[in-house]
Symmetry: C2
């Protein structure tokens, strides 16, 4: 029983961590940020993010598989969009938290510098 509780708890934590990892990359954040404004096709995302096309496609596949974005075929384009407004909420919450901790986060050298 305690074991069951532990399993549930760690399963929750693992899910959270996995979702956070989805956001924990500048390239994916750039893509998600661009899609928060308007749906975009891959080549448009490539232009705006200045990432390589295979790179964008790879991230989109991941985001799509995770359900963070959705896609619609439009002629020979494939238009991607944010799947849920909760994503926008989450991003603005992060910005709100950054208002408080930005200095410390930048100073923290446990992660690679930008």
């Amino acid at each position: 029983m305690a074991q069951l509780v532990d399993d549930r708890k760690s399963a929750t934590i693992e899910r959270r961590a996995k979702l956070f990892r989805g956001f924990a990359d500048p390239s994916r954040l750039a893509i998600l940020g661009a899609l928060c404004n308007e749906p975009l096709a891959v080549h448009e995302l490539v232009e705006r993010t200045e990432l390589s096309q295979p790179n964008v496609s790879n991230h989109l596949r991941c985001l799509l598989e995770c359900g963070l974005v959705a896609s619609d075929r439009d002629g020979r384009f494939i238009r991607y969009r944010i799947s849920s407004p909760r994503i926008t909420v989450l991003l603005s919450d992060v910005d709100a938290l950054l208002d408080v901790v930005a200095v410390g986060v930048e100073a923290c050298d446990n992660y690679r510098e930008a």
Copy 2:
């Protein structure tokens, strides 16, 4: 000027990514989750998270440097606590988003399996 804008934009993205990375680890989430309920000393965190003591200390150093937790000396203990309620908000928003995308996130195999 456009360069300046780009710099600002990418700086924002980098900060977001860095903050997300702070949350993108099961061990740190376990620590933060435990601290959301009540302030705890290191050895208490070790007990509850079942992580090694050096491991917990390392994560705490990072979280402290980032300003996500704060610490108070209490005798020979050092008690850690969540630095801002915004962190709790962020965590609950993630859970809300997981309500929608949990299935996809679990299915996504671009990241290591839990």
